[in-house]
């Protein structure tokens, strides 16, 4: 028997769910202080998420996609990028986006039914939220290709879900990134569910990371509830990409602790036990335990910071609530660089209906 090819996929985990190291930490974390701002960021994200859900329940926000449980993965991804890199989110990676300068009020605007939410004050070249699943992965491959062609040492990072890893666009992204050795990092955030469809129904593959083999990419599976593993996995992939060694697929193992969105009721399709069990792997708890054990964090500090987070989020919520609706002509703005002659009459008609002809 001759062997044509052999592959092996590594799994990274450093902190166990009890917050205790299960492997030697990567050198970068010899001093765990570096983790502190990231933990604080995770707490900020959870505060934001909680308040956004509450806001939706009062009718002041449209459908909202929570990120509960994804904080380590999201923040770890955001922390691994440079400002000049390009981030292509799906629709719930606020933790990564905040680290890149996206404002919480922009998240609220978007889910509040206002296009201006996508006009990020922060990372001007980052992609907007992307509703058509995984199409952002392929756009990111195009972005990565453009960096390579222009010889810019930049990396494109795209996120999709376990469901999104079934999408043909995801496959097109990994296939083309492989073909062009483009600096693309595909982050598959496996939270176990795609609305009501469990990971097991998406594919016969034993891991989602192995999909990268199809395109000759570097593949890695990571405990997505372990911030250290996330950071280490991302470091490897981003370094490879920036160094011209091509793309990666990283599967982050985490869990969707909330409903799919506020329009979903997960009780219809998943058992309580599973969710209860997932809570034991809460990424916040294990990092808090670890940092506390290292003497870097305390209940008092948590309380103070949580309060501060609440205040900051409230400022954002108010900014959102106080933003007036766009005027009707906003529909015609930014459709083309200049409004074509053929649309002028329609715009005028819309204005006339407002008594603003």
């Amino acid at each position: 028997m001759t062997t044509a090819a052999r592959f092996e996929i590594e799994y990274l985990q450093y902190l166990g769910k009890d917050g205790k190291p299960v492997a030697e930490l990567p050198a970068a974390f010899a001093d765990p202080k570096a983790l502190l701002p990231l933990f604080k960021q995770m707490l900020f994200v959870r505060t934001f998420d909680t308040k956004a859900i509450a806001l939706q329940r009062t009718g002041k926000l449209g459908t909202y996609a929570a990120c509960l449980g994804h904080e380590a993965t999201h923040v770890g991804i955001g922390a691994s990028m440079r400002p000049e890199d390009v981030f292509a989110p799906s629709y719930r990676e606020y933790g990564a986006q905040f680290m890149r300068g996206v404002q919480p009020r922009e998240v609220l605007m978007y889910w509040g039914g206002d296009e201006r939410g996508n006009d990020f004050a922060g990372p001007k070249h980052d992609y907007p939220w992307c509703v058509p699943i995984s199409t952002q992965c392929l756009m990111a491959a195009g972005a990565a290709l453009s960096f390579k062609l222009r010889k810019q040492p930049r990396v494109a990072v795209a996120c999709c879900g376990d469901g999104g890893s079934s999408k043909t666009d995801f496959y097109a992204a990994l296939n083309s990134a492989g073909a062009y050795t483009a600096p693309l990092v595909l982050c598959v955030i496996n939270n176990g569910w795609a609305i009501s469809v469990p990971r097991s129904a998406q594919t016969g593959a034993q891991t989602l990371a192995q999909k990268g083999i199809a395109g000759g990419l570097h593949c890695l599976q990571v405990d997505g509830n372990d911030l250290i593993a996330v950071l280490e996995g991302m470091r490897r992939a981003v370094e490879r990409a920036r160094g011209g060694q091509g793309g990666s697929v990283i599967e982050f193992m985490t869990y969707r602790l909330h409903d799919h969105t506020t329009a979903d009721d997960a009780r219809r399709y998943r058992g309580e036990d599973e969710v209860k069990d997932a809570w034991t792997r809460d990424p916040m708890v294990r990092l808090r335990t670890y940092l506390t054990a290292q003497g870097l964090w305390s209940e008092a500090e948590e309380k103070a910071w949580a309060e501060e987070c609440g205040k900051r989020v409230d400022v954002e919520i108010n900014a959102y609530l106080e933003t007036p609706v766009q005027p009707v002509e906003a529909m015609f703005d930014h459709l083309y660089a200049e409004l074509p002659h053929d649309l002028v009459a329609q715009r005028d008609a819309a204005l006339a209906l407002e008594g603003r002809a």
Binding site: G62, T63, D264, F332
Partner: protein, 353 residues
């Protein structure tokens, strides 16, 4: 995404389940449009083993709009298949199954997610019979929750029927009432050719009517005249039927008699019904939600310009979405046709000639 919150509350009720277990109940209760969809699916699955349902979240979850609620429990996971999250996959599997003798009813979760299905619909579904000279066929239905007005996120509100109306070999249909949803869906499933079945999601739960579960299909080659009138013909389809009927009511209050036609089956089109009405009224207002330019309303106006020129006493009017993307929900109602816009257009046709 999932349906917007506006409909989410509704979506939480499991009304669909009822329809399932009550085949032809003695005193039928009134049901909504979406319940009529469920009822039709259940009816046909009971009577034809070849019918299977597939799509994202159509199984235990019963669909994000609850259209398939209860079907999985009743008919099992081999008749109600959750698919991997890929619309190309759904379209391709559906064509594959249909061409091998099954009758798949696929669901696109939202209008905005059906674009990856275009290739299979155009290149294979619409051509299987033609290409093989009848050797293989493609008796499939693609159900698509369609249109705006439910305060949903991006790509959950699109009126994209015009993408398919220039494609030969398809039927493009859209019911606008519970009874028509039931009868037309039965017809679509039984039709030996591919049918794109758009469901106006804004009126999924707008009102109820009694729809006997008698398995009676409605024809897919006629327009439905919903209201007789003599002064102006209002032609529309889908969710706008509601506003158009209301507009007719308002016009009546002003002494203007409007005929209202629900096109229902866009292609192949029953133009005769429209032409007859316009021959009577001499005026026509076409109402649809899609962008105006090259929307399907253009075809109806074009046929009038070809065949009813000498009947028309006034220029044809179109009340449509603007030639822009439907905005996110803070502005979407300003984008959509409204009763006032329709009334104004009808009055313009009366003023013109």
């Amino acid at each position: 995404m999932s349906p917007a919150d506006a409909s989410a509350a509704d979506a939480r009720t499991d009304a669909g389940d009822a329809a399932m277990n009550a085949p032809a109940a003695a005193t039928p209760t009134a049901i909504t449009l979406i319940e009529a969809i469920t009822q039709a699916l259940a009816y046909e699955m009971r009577h034809d083993d070849a019918v299977v349902v597939l799509g994202e979240d159509v199984g235990v979850n019963g669909g994000v709009f609850r259209a398939t609620a209860g079907l999985s429990a009743t008919f099992g996971t081999e008749r109600v298949l959750d698919t991997p999250l890929d619309e190309t996959t759904i379209a391709g599997l559906t064509v594959g199954m249909a061409s091998q003798g099954m009758k798949p009813v696929a669901e696109a979760q939202f209008d905005g997610f059906m674009y990856p299905m275009v290739d299979f619909i155009v290149c294979h579904a619409a051509r299987m019979r033609y290409r093989t000279r009848g050797r293989l066929t493609c008796p499939m239905v693609l159900r698509v929750p369609w249109g705006g007005g439910i305060r949903a996120p991006e790509h959950h509100s699109e009126a994209n029927e015009a993408i398919f109306t220039n494609v030969p070999g398809l039927r493009v249909v859209m019911p606008s009432s519970p009874a028509r949803a039931y009868g037309m869906l039965l017809a679509a499933i039984r039709d030996p050719d591919p049918v794109i079945f758009f469901e106006p999601k804004r009126i999924y739960r707008q009102y109820k009517e009694v729809v006997p579960d008698d398995g009676e299909a409605l024809p897919l080659d006629v327009c439905f005249v919903l209201r007789d009138g003599s002064d102006v013909t209002l032609v529309t389809w889908g969710a706008q039927v509601k506003e158009t009927l209301e507009a007719a009511e308002k016009l009546a209050a002003d002494g203007i008699s409007a005929e209202v036609i629900d096109v229902a089956t866009l292609t192949p089109l029953d133009f005769d019904t429209i032409a007859e009405s316009v021959a009577k009224t001499g005026r026509c207002v076409i109402v649809h939600e899609a962008p105006r330019t090259a929307g399907f309303g253009a075809e109806i106006a074009a046929r009038l310009a070809e065949h009813s020129m000498f009947d028309l006493r006034a220029p044809v009017e179109r009340v449509t979405g603007y030639d822009t993307h439907i905005p996110l929900f803070r502005l979407e109602m300003k984008y959509l046709p409204s009763v006032d816009k329709i009334v104004a257009a009808a009055k313009r046709t009366l003023a013109a000639g």
